[in-house]
């Protein structure tokens, strides 16, 4: 038995190689959530469109993505597709896989958020002369956001952790770099605990941010909080 090595543990806790890995994890999360929200909106609007073709394409897309594991998708994109002449770098393949996944899951979240806004709201917005775009921007989206943000926040949390799957195609994020160090130094437990702590740090920080955002979009719905704000 080797026992727990405190010196090694603290050394890796501040190791720049690991720290950079954590930064990559954070970057991957920010990139795939941002692009995922944009793509998710497109898929959601297609899904809700009165044109059957668009709606069916969107349905097929979410069915396909949500019905298969990200791990399999990444391997297909990075390892499989070159076989038919389509080549992506590790970063490209990772981003494509992550964004495609987020878009599929988020589109469902966005769709339910938008349909939760009562019909009367769109009539009221139109009645004051808003165009469809203005109605979306000033009336529908802010109200949908209140419904969307809790599950969206969970998706960010999930995405922070899911990025680790990209280590399988040698994306140099937090987990991959931890594994590389383990192969050199054999401090398995210490290094994995360090990685776990970094994930925990990032998810906890996000939790705090999410609570602030939720409070912002909750205005107008909580009588006590609104009254306090007005004093």
């Amino acid at each position: 038995m080797k026992g727990w090595n405190w010196d090694g543990f603290f050394e890796y806790l501040t190791n720049t190689y690991i720290l950079e890995g954590a930064a990559v994890t954070l970057g991957l999360t920010i990139a795939s959530m941002t692009l995922g929200v944009v793509a998710g909106c497109v898929v959601a609007l297609m899904r809700m469109s009165p044109f059957r073709v668009l709606s069916n394409i969107a349905y097929f897309y979410t069915w396909l993505i949500r019905g298969t594991p990200l791990l399999v998708q990444l391997i297909i994109i990075y390892t499989g597709l070159p076989q038919i002449g389509i080549k992506f770098s590790v970063l490209e393949a990772t981003l494509i896989g992550l964004v495609m996944n987020e878009a599929a899951y988020l589109s469902e979240i966005i769709r339910s958020g938008i349909s939760s806004v009562p019909k009367g709201q769109s009539n009221a917005a139109r009645a004051v002369g808003m165009t469809d775009v203005q109605m979306m921007r000033y009336v529908i989206a802010p109200q949908a956001a209140r419904i969307i943000i809790p599950p969206l926040g969970n998706s960010v949390n999930g995405c922070l952790k899911t990025t680790s799957i990209a280590s399988i195609i040698s994306m140099e994020e937090l987990l991959r770099r931890t594994q590389v160090l383990i192969q050199e130094k054999f401090m398995v437990l210490e290094l994995f605990v360090v990685a776990a702590l970094y994930y925990l740090l990032m998810t906890t920080a996000w939790d705090l941010i999410q609570r602030r955002i939720e409070r912002h979009f909750g205005r107008g719905y909580d009588i006590k909080a609104d009254a306090a704000e007005q004093r």
Binding site: G120, A124, R126, A127, V128, G220, I223, A227, Q230
Partner: protein, 246 residues
């Protein structure tokens, strides 16, 4: 005088089989107050929503002042910015304060500055007796208060006509008067109004004409006094006895 609102042989279907409006014709002159009544499901809400193009029609034509509502190239947002509408369930924007509710159309649609919009809003809040509530959210207000804000929101656009769809029927009885008072005031100032309501007291006080609808048809369109004294159709007689009894 050029009429303000004209509906000419308007037909509308929901789906293929259900005709909700059957050749409805109606003219409202500037400054006129027309009350529309009729049994539930007779098409009153649908009819009034067609006037500002919230519902498309399949036949006939509708115009407001010199704007064609039913034309293929109509700029509907522009048209609607000139026609105020008040709904049964108020439909204030819940995520905006009272002031924001009344400002949003002025700034985003009419292009007024924030300062102009807020000045106008303050004046309107005064007028509907809601000055103390400017910074509140709709959820903090009673139904009657919300409806008065909804009227202010519509008036903020300086409309040439106002449409009301049962503005008091979702209100507790003790709040009906405060909303009707605002509407009576508006009528007396010469606003052109189309009002779907069963408040016959309001109709008696300010209506010029009463339109009675049943089964998607305009059954009667008569001057107010005539309508109350001697309705022409049997259906109107029955309807009146029902709502005046209770």
């Amino acid at each position: 005088m050029q009429p303000m609102i004209v509906l000419e042989d308007v037909d509308k279907w929901y789906g293929k089989n259900f005709q909700v409006l059957k050749s409805c014709s109606l003219t409202v002159s500037p400054g006129e107050v027309v009350v529309i009544c009729g049994p539930s499901g007779s098409g009153k809400s649908t009819l009034i929503k067609c006037v500002n193009g919230l519902e498309p029609v399949q036949g006939g034509r509708i115009s407001v002042k010199d704007m064609e509502v039913t034309g293929p190239r109509t700029n509907l947002p522009k048209l609607r910015s000139h026609v105020g509408m008040v709904f049964q369930h108020f439909d204030l924007f819940p995520h905006m304060t009272v002031t924001e509710n009344i400002c949003i159309g002025q700034t985003r649609v009419l292009g007024r500055t924030q300062a102009e919009a807020e000045a106008k809003t303050a004046a309107l809040l005064e007028r509907v007796g809601m000055s103390d509530h400017a910074r509140k959210y709709p959820i903090q207000l009673s139904g009657g208060q919300q409806q008065r804000i909804a009227i202010a929101r519509a008036l903020a656009m300086d409309p040439i006509a106002m449409l009301f769809d049962e503005p008091t029927s979702a209100l507790d009885p003790e709040m009906i008067t405060e909303v009707l008072d605002v509407m009576v005031e508006l009528a007396k100032e010469g606003m052109t109004m189309m009002v779907v309501t069963h408040e016959m007291g309001f109709a008696r006080k300010v209506a010029d004409r009463v339109v009675f609808m049943d089964g998607g048809e305009v059954v009667e369109d008569t001057p107010k006094d005539e309508f109350f004294a001697s309705p022409k159709s049997q259906r109107a007689v029955e309807f009146l006895s029902k709502i005046l009894d209770h």
